[in-house]
Symmetry: none
Subunit: 195 residues, 4 copies
């Protein structure tokens, strides 16, 4: 998609629109942002938005998807980077918070859920959850994690990360933020790791 999109979009208009949308949706909310504002911020005409996305909702959904993909990728790559199960958890958390730091300024975008992006085609959170589900199942089958209902376990693990991220987001300074990350690691290990 990236390659294809780039071919169709040599001017980077799509990228400009996405960036404008991220910034505006994140700071003003979905209803509080108009298509005209996005167009102005992106430096394109309103009509152009509609050559790139079918409608406003679709733009937000795309942005949400991009963000979720970052987190899903981070989850996956972090996990893969570890050797032991414990290490995998730690690397995953590290990768997630590196991603979080990269998108910290547009994080509110990720909370624009139910009223907006949620639809039959797209369940926010599903992509990350799917990765966690997979990893969890693998770790259980290797005997590294305690066995639970996988869906429940994945949902709860996902919740732990989300909770930690919310706490992390309001912490003043890097040192304080590292503390949240450390606690999350410990709690994840204690909750899931065997032995």
């Amino acid at each position: 998609m990236t390659t294809a999109a780039r071919k169709m979009d040599p001017d980077g208009k799509r990228e400009a629109v996405c960036r404008a949308g991220e910034a505006l949706f994140a700071s003003r909310g979905y209803a509080g942002t108009t298509m005209a504002e996005i167009a102005r911020e992106a430096g394109v005409a309103v009509g152009t938005l509609y050559t790139l996305f079918p409608d406003k909702r679709a733009l937000l959904t795309e942005l949400h998807r991009r963000m979720e993909r970052r987190f899903a990728d981070a989850t996956q790559q972090g996990w893969a980077a570890g050797q032991t199960a414990g290490e995998r958890l730690d690397r995953m958390v590290d990768a997630l918070f590196i991603a979080a730091a990269e998108v910290a300024d547009i994080m509110p975008l990720y909370e624009l859920t139910r009223d907006t992006v949620s639809s039959d085609d797209y369940r926010p959170g599903a992509a990350v959850m799917a990765v966690i589900h997979l990893q969890y199942t693998e770790a259980v089958s290797r005997g590294d994690f305690h066995a639970h209902d996988p869906a429940a376990a994945a949902a709860i693990a996902h919740g732990m990360v989300e909770g930690a991220m919310r706490d992390w987001a309001v912490r003043p300074g890097a040192r304080e933020q590292r503390r949240t990350i450390r606690e999350l690691k410990v709690l994840l290990r204690r909750a899931f790791l065997k032995g």
Copy 2:
């Protein structure tokens, strides 16, 4: 004010409006619900809505607050009902999911956050988190829980409950739902309980 308002409102108009708002916001979302619909559903005139709440946003915030209060109360009372720390966790989870079952049909309302209810005056989730924070601190000081940064621990515990509730909400049947609850109890105990 709530009590006073109820005294001034023997017809239960305010209550009717809240119920109508809960049902409609939950099923159609915030933007998808009009004040006229709420008025019709509640059996009052549109103008009456504006004698009860300053504007649409304020109505949603009130509903959100009510729901959060239920959960905060459940958390507190469940916790108090247990003898040992482990029991307290279990009772708290039980109470939370009893509350969740009571409001299951309007649960989506609780997700209508950032874009809508969030404001300087009201931070969604703060009330429940505060209760958890208190309980956690108490349990640590009694030596029942592992010591962590209290804010981080509370946020993560809160995330676990939220994650479990999302899973619970999509489970088919009571038996399946009970499984989620069981897993949550185990994971909470393992994450926080000493020994």
Copy 3:
């Protein structure tokens, strides 16, 4: 003074409502003032307004009429106070500006015309104009004033006073205001007085 006294004195209620209406209409305009505000300011219930006046428009018309009556009376009495025609003009101007000073703070009320008080039953300005018309005719018949079409002359004289009053209203300080009054006297004399 306040609630009890007013209850014992229905005429006081009407007066209170008029005063509140004057203050509010003058400062916020007609459309910018609500019946509820007037009621609150007057210390009565909204319903009471409707026992005193048939509707909002009628209240404004009444206030306008009161004000106009003041000016009409001042015109008449001032005129009558003079011996010669020139003196009559001077006394009339004096009396008019004494009245203007008394109602200076609610003067804008007098400008709320066409869109509001004007109707088939009430022509704003007519009362004052009628007095001027009469005085002018009398002075002409006595040979004191130049003969003109009486309606035109009255309208123009009225305009001179209105123009002077607008200038007077924006003048800083009593000394400056007296200058406007002096000029008006001279111009009226020159325009109308024979010899």
Copy 4:
């Protein structure tokens, strides 16, 4: 901006809207006219009104300004057309009443003042008054007019014209109207002209 706007508006939409606004505001008043009516009358969509003017009030202000400009221009040009001071006064009055005749049907618009167009940015009457002030000062310095406080004199002269116009507006037939004009000329000359 007016010129620029006209260039951007070859369809004459802005002009159509202004005409519709003039007709409706004049006949029904400000509060009595809806934006929907104006749009319908002008043959454009409601939304188009808001691309031309920020809001209803701004539209009225613009119309008021246009009308005032006509009178200010007439005042200036009429004045310039005369040779002697007396002639200048006469030409000015002629020009003003020619303008008045041209806009006779929308004259009530000019009375929609205080409650509506008056604001910090726009003082109704100020433009015409400024021209009169200038002319008056010039005539005094030439020794043609009696010396008075210029602001007071301008305000009073302005009032004379306004008064005459009100009388003129209710006169039946051209012959009657000419009489008002004639009287105004005489009174202006007598009030201001030296010798």
